[in-house]
């Protein structure tokens, strides 16, 4: 009952539109991540849904109700800020229950809800403390408790984990995900961290310059990036891009590289067409020199990543990297061969950057 519909949203600061005609529809219970580089309008979009920012044009509906002109408090949304935004002079308990008290919920009803939420987030020992006497992770848990206790229709998170160290970030990410599995509240989560997005999202909305570049499940976004931008943004190590020309027999050639492509995936390619190949380092691995689609290169650098290693090679003067578990046998200066399956090759239009995939 708390689906979110944004139609033709426009937001301008002065004459300059930051978001220009964005349409978005989020089904009930879904965990959606707004992903994109800094400054692409993720926070602006989120804050318009929260009601903290006015829309310049368009309509926002939450659960079928038009909330475009509603004040933030009446929309039934709860938000967790990057800065935690706790009330510094109130105890943890008062911070968490502030919203309920403003709604006029009775003390006898607040007490058990506070206990339940504090238990769930492990905050019970800290209820009497001031926020400044808590660690960053604990403060962010208080902010989450403050959002949860209101049992909102929608949870909004604006980069809630950015101020935490890597380990804590991972832990809280799991907790947020678990919380969603339990409560099933429609959630929008903003981040610029693609790994965070991939691990937490039901669906990713990948934004660029105030527009939606691609929307889909993490698998769809990873396996079928709709554009060069998406392919470049998602996945570590970053995708290799190579300019190539199509030759007869569905072969893409770039200097010494010749890759045979799948005619089913790319039915529209014609010989002589200029394309951009996208090769994910993670989809490639060491191969025999005569293996299909093998690429030969000189090793420049080997980066140890623990279980795997990234091998950076030079091929015809350009750098191409791939990831292999057998990186320990590879030495700089050696010539190696690596290959990938035709269905793992991405092809983009060099002009528009759009994927040339047919299906």
């Amino acid at each position: 009952m708390a689906n979110i519909t944004c139609s033709n949203i426009v937001k301008s600061y002065g004459a300059f539109p930051v978001i220009d005609g964005l349409d978005l529809s989020i089904p009930d219970h879904e965990f959606v991540v707004f992903l994109g580089p800094s400054g692409c309008g993720k926070s602006t979009m989120l804050r318009m849904i929260a009601g903290l920012e006015e829309v310049t044009g368009g309509r926002i509906e939450i659960g079928g109700t038009d909330v475009t002109d509603m004040p933030p408090g009446d929309r039934g949304v709860a938000m967790v800020f990057q800065s935690y935004a706790l009330y510094p002079h109130m105890s943890v308990a008062d911070n968490i229950t502030f919203g309920l008290r403003r709604q006029g919920v009775s003390r006898s009803e607040i007490a058990p809800r506070l206990e339940q939420v504090a238990d769930m987030l492990g905050l019970s020992p800290y209820l009497d403390r001031r926020p400044k006497n808590l660690s960053g992770g604990q403060q962010q848990r208080v902010a989450m408790a403050r959002a949860m206790i209101k049992t909102p229709k929608v949870f909004l998170f604006d980069e809630p984990l950015s101020n935490l160290d890597a380990k804590l970030r991972e832990k809280l990410r799991t907790e947020i995900r678990k919380m969603h599995l339990q409560l099933k509240t429609t959630t929008i989560f903003v981040t610029h961290d693609q790994l965070e997005a991939m691990t937490i999202a039901d669906r990713i909305v990948l934004m660029r310059d105030g527009e939606i570049e691609q929307m889909g499940t993490p698998d769809e976004i990873f396996e079928r990036p709709a554009s060069h931008f998406v392919a470049d943004f998602i996945g570590t190590p970053a995708m290799n891009f190579i300019d190539a020309t199509i030759e007869a027999g569905h072969v893409a050639r770039a200097g010494s590289i010749a890759l045979s492509l799948s005619p089913e995936l790319f039915p529209g390619l014609v010989p002589g067409q200029k394309v951009e190949l996208g090769l994910r380092p993670a989809s490639m691995d060491l191969a025999a020199p005569d293996a299909p689609n093998a690429i030969g290169g000189t090793v420049v650098l080997v980066e140890n990543m623990g279980a795997e290693g990234q091998v950076i090679t030079q091929v015809d003067g350009a750098e191409i990297s791939f990831v292999t578990p057998q990186f320990r046998q590879v030495r700089a200066g050696e010539t190696v061969h690596f290959a990938l399956r035709p269905d793992q090759i991405h092809i983009f239009d060099p002009e528009t950057g759009r994927s040339l995939r047919g299906v």
Partner: protein, 290 residues
């Protein structure tokens, strides 16, 4: 270590000048207070604690003490109350930085006026026959009101001038303080269903508790020095209705009696009382604001 020494050395000149000035005048006051000097005659003798004991039986002294306390209370709460109300009002209603700056500039003007000038302006405005305030009162069918001659109104009427000068000045300070507050907790409160006034009552003003306590103390010290304002506007009258301790000391020591020894004793007592009172208030205020 060298840094510490440097800091101390740098402080020495200022502190020694201040100490000399303060100590010399305090020592002089003590010296006078132990004798029975008057301006009328050159003769005097050493009387010990006589002046202090006299003070404790002087009902006019206690009246002045009461008026002083009342004056402190009215001007401090009035100034802070006005500053908080106006700054919240401006914060909520005036969004354009240009207009805010214009308002702030206008609000700074009264405090830049010499207090004597402010006193004369308001004395004229309060005038029963010529004053603009009584003219306005007349329009709604009240008055003429003897603002400065009515014992029950005089103190308040003078306090209004003080609050006008300092309340508007403090409004600017509180507004600037509010502008430095982080936006996030305010936005969180908006999402937490807090109404406009609730946001200020429960979030912004509590966040400014520390600075507000400091401002109150500054104003309390400042209010102790309102001699010129009261002197010009009412001279302590009507009767003793606006006679604060410094006015009484002046009346006793310079104006009527010329009993400078008695006045010195009074100012010493005032010094002790205010020092104790302010130490207590300062400690309590700091604890409360923490």
């Amino acid at each position: 270590m060298t840094r510490k020494i440097f800091v101390r050395l740098a402080l020495v000149p200022a502190i020694s000048i201040l100490a000399t000035l303060a100590l010399v005048s305090i020592a002089g006051a003590i010296w006078f207070a132990l004798m029975n000097r008057t301006l009328r005659s050159p003769e005097y003798e050493f009387v010990g604690a006589y002046n202090f004991l006299r003070l404790l039986r002087d009902s006019r002294f206690f009246n002045a003490l009461e008026i002083s306390a009342l004056w402190e209370l009215i001007t401090v709460t009035g100034t802070l109350g006005l500053a908080v109300l106006l700054s919240v009002l401006i914060y909520e209603t005036v969004q354009k930085p240009l207009w805010r700056n214009v308002i702030c500039f206008a609000f700074l003007v009264p405090v830049l006026l010499p207090r004597v000038a402010a006193a004369f302006i308001w004395r004229f405005m309060y005038s029963p026959s010529l004053g603009v305030i009584n003219y306005l009162c007349g329009l709604v069918g009240i008055g003429p009101v003897e603002f400065l001659a009515d014992p029950s109104l005089a103190l308040i009427s003078v306090a209004v001038v003080d609050i006008w000068q300092w309340g508007l000045f403090f409004t600017v300070i509180v507004l600037k303080l509010m502008e430095t507050l982080p936006r996030d907790p305010i936005e969180a409160a908006m999402l937490d269903n807090a109404r406009r006034w609730e946001i200020h009552a429960y979030v912004t003003l509590p966040m400014l508790k520390g600075p507000l306590v400091s401002l109150a103390l500054v104003k309390a010290v400042e209010s102790l020095r309102s001699f010129d304002l009261i002197f010009v506007m009412t001279g302590g009258g009507p009767g003793k209705a606006t006679e604060t301790l410094d006015l009484y000391a002046y009346q006793m020591g310079i104006n009527m009696g010329g009993r400078i020894s008695y006045a010195s004793a009074m100012s010493l007592l005032l010094l002790v009382v205010t020092t104790i009172a302010f130490t207590v208030i300062w400690k309590a205020g700091k604890k409360w604001a923490a």
